[in-house]
Symmetry: C2
Subunit: 492 residues, 2 copies
């Protein structure tokens, strides 16, 4: 494996794939479109999960687990949802293998073991969950029902990319039931806010909060709230969505409750999810031509310490010092790795932690022992400083916070510089094809215009921002009247 990473400016897509490979995050598997998430990549996901799970529980949600399979008859019950996912479903048709009589040592599907009803591997779990909720909800006392599930789902995508779009992916899916429309909408909006908070405070990835146009909505939703991030190549990434499902699933699965007044009413629903796709967003928001750059709050290793030594004796002296540092850092819940492997030289270790995006690297050698110093290197700015050991722990703690903030500020500046207002279709095309990013434009509100623009530019409506101000104008494409600008972009 060549040490040299392709530069972003040369080939952004190749750079992305190489980072994933060289930083040991994930790889393609023997199953078409399915990835193996390697330990270092999975540790990032675990950190994401821990924070999100805490945020969900703090807002009253509980975890549960529903079956991987959805019987076809349930899958097709909510028609729009079924239609939206039918074209990319893994379908289980048999439940047994047998020895292949024609090929010794090989197996074949046992034709006798055909299922009476096919099972769909869940692409999303509304159907199986709402079929279950029917038994759980009788009275207003059972509401709201606030449930989340961490699970794997499968969507048979034709073109896949590690983390961004894989046939199987890991995610969380919240599914809630409410007695009123107001409450359900508030829940959907709350979850959008939580996703945005997570993206910005932990991933250091600024997002635009908005809602989807009809054609970009989740299949079966009345409204889809989204958080949209911007990658360094000017393409947008839908990073999380929260859906107000109206009474669509309640009606499809006949889920009613008795109100305080004794009336039978359909319940109101939401669902919301983020997935391992976030790791793709994390990579493309911060990383540079030297490799991955991770925000400290999600980095599996926040500080790597590398001894510079000749011979066992020097290593022993250094190790003694480092052990004290490691202990102090751990007591502050800072994740630290002392890399004293003797099978690699310091230079190779420096390169490895640079590639892996470890926020801080500390080198400590013989002279440092004499001078009571260490060398601290920041991954984000690549600055190096020689620091006294005396106040090191505080220094590191503050520096990690500073890095977290710096990464966010930098990404926010990039985002702000890449939201461009345009007032003509020529301008629109120019920006999309050169500068990229979000294009803020008037749109006449029709699907026809949306489709035409997509056809001509590959740009889609990413969202109508929550805070879009009312402003009279004319659609950049059709010239029809419009009351607010929406954000277009090419997207992952």
């Amino acid at each position: 494996m060549s040490k040299k990473l392709t530069k972003r400016a040369e080939d952004y897509s190749k750079w992305y794939n190489e980072i994933i490979q060289k930083a040991d995050l994930a790889e393609n598997s023997a199953v078409r479109g399915c990835m193996v998430i390697k330990p270092y990549g999975f540790a990032i996901w675990e950190n994401m999960q821990a924070e999100l799970d805490r945020m969900f529980k703090e807002t009253g949600h509980q975890n549960a687990y529903f079956p991987l399979f959805v019987p076809k008859s349930l899958f097709e019950a909510e028609e729009k949802n079924a239609e939206g996912f039918a074209k990319e479903c893994a379908v289980v048709t048999h439940y047994r293998l047998q020895n292949d009589p024609d090929h010794t040592g090989k197996l074949r599907v046992d034709p006798e073991a055909k299922l009476e009803e096919e099972l769909i591997v869940r692409p999303t779990s509304e159907a199986i969950i709402w079929n279950t909720y029917k038994g759980w909800i009788q009275s207003y006392r059972d509401l709201p029902l606030l449930i989340n599930q961490w699970a794997n789902v499968v969507r048979w995508e034709m073109r896949t990319r590690l983390f961004l779009r894989t046939a199987e992916f890991l995610w969380q899916e919240g599914h809630t039931a409410h007695s009123t429309k107001t409450e359900a909408v508030a829940e959907a909006v709350q979850m959008q806010k939580i996703y945005a908070e997570f993206a910005e405070s932990f991933m250091a990835m600024p997002v635009v909060k908005g809602y989807k146009s009809e054609s970009e909505r989740f299949a079966g939703a009345e409204d889809t709230y989204t958080i949209e991030a911007l990658m360094q190549d000017g393409k947008a990434l839908q990073a999380g969505t929260s859906h107000f499902l109206g009474q669509n699933f309640a009606k499809a699965f006949d889920v009613k409750y008795t109100s305080k007044e004794g009336k039978q009413e359909y319940v109101w629903a939401t669902s919301w999810g983020v997935s391992t796709r976030l790791i793709g967003g994390l990579i493309m928001t911060h990383s540079d031509d030297l490799g991955l750059v991770l925000p400290p709050k999600l980095a599996p290793i926040q500080v790597a310490i590398i001894p510079i030594y000749k011979g066992e004796d020097q290593l022993a002296v250094i190790s003694e010092k480092v052990e004290i540092i490691v202990k102090s850092l751990k007591s502050k819940r800072i994740s630290v790795k002392f890399d004293d492997r003797d099978t690699f030289r310091p230079g190779a270790k420096f390169a490895e932690y640079e590639l892996k995006g470890v926020p801080l690297r500390i080198a400590i050698g013989n002279r440092d022992i004499e001078n009571n110093t260490v060398e601290v290197a920041r991954r984000d700015t690549l600055e190096k400083k020689t620091i006294s050991q005396d106040n090191l722990i505080n220094y590191i703690e503050n520096l990690l916070e500073e890095i977290q903030e710096n990464l966010f500020s930098k990404a926010l500046l990039y985002q702000k510089n890449h939201i461009t207002e345009v007032n003509s279709f020529d301008e629109f095309k120019t920006i999309i094809n050169t500068k990229g990013g979000f294009v803020s434009a008037h749109w006449d509100g029709t699907i026809e215009t949306e489709n035409k623009i997509k056809e001509l530019t590959k740009a889609t409506i990413r969202c109508i921002p929550n805070d879009a101000k009312e402003e009279l104008g004319f659609c950049v494409f059709s010239g029809e009247k419009s009351v607010r600008r929406v954000l277009f972009a090419k997207a992952y």
Copy 2:
């Protein structure tokens, strides 16, 4: 739903199912053999996961994630493993649905969307993982490789029971690779020890550590180490297994490494797992005719506090006191629920927490406020005591520990009283059919005898205990010579 639980002595199996239903742990789903794990049951699993995950990481393991699907050609590569699981596999054959031309609004499998190679939904992941390890292992420097995965797996069991045997279940599976046989065996034994420690210290469930006879081994293993627990009805439960896989998978997937001496060698492997089955074991170890009994270390709610009041004013005074108690308990990481719902009466709440196995219940009423007391009720012994509020937090902390120990002692006593040495087949049959539990008997070491005994008594060899002493004797069935006793039992 009737409040009354079937008694264990009446119908143990019915009692088990009712507890799961009434304590809101899980339920059967619309998918044959697959369960829905409800929030309260899932919270127990989350507590189990947290402790096990910590223990795995403390012993150097890292988490990763491998695909849900195994291509048939990989699945069949290790012959014994394939043979062991082929008869109970969910098989994906198609990747798309289409509108059913004969039934408007219905879907059918698109016959055009047939996979070239069928995909098996993983019943266990050795095949896909060893196929991946081939790319990860080149040199002795890459070893040991110590990886764990938390995942769902599917085994198309014909007879299923909630938690104990379900078509889909949740588990963790460790898969490790080593340069020497000694190291791999030590790993397998270490994981058996960790499982035993978890079972005894957290689940308060005593286990026998042993290894399996050949016919009870994992398909593809050279040795299977097991922990075997004993349920209250005298049946054994295999609670966790750890396999020394020899070089079987390394050879099937051609995984070699270059040794320090520059030689090409096959690596040595282990795999090990525990699953949501543990929740079944937890239920059947401690619970009683009043409902679930949970050990404090795994209870989602350790302390439930119930106000006894008339009118809003009294509740306000009580709530003020309780809030201080709740805060103090939480600062000690004790999980507490203040149940001030006005839709249920205290009696109903008492019954609910009894059914749900909450270790401690605190009642606090008007008189308690006057006397500076609370009433504390233990779920395990059903004792109630009136306690001063002054030293309450310490009292609760100690009492939770005492309950944890008491549950273990009680279960251990039951286990000790249900390991019966027998020296004839008549005795063997009598014990198995009356007292139940483990029967410690001499066995001639042949599969024929094992099968015959199973046929005649339904008892199987649960394990050869790790600490079985050498003792000359004669097989209870065949009269042939034997050098140690093994443990038989009827099992779940």
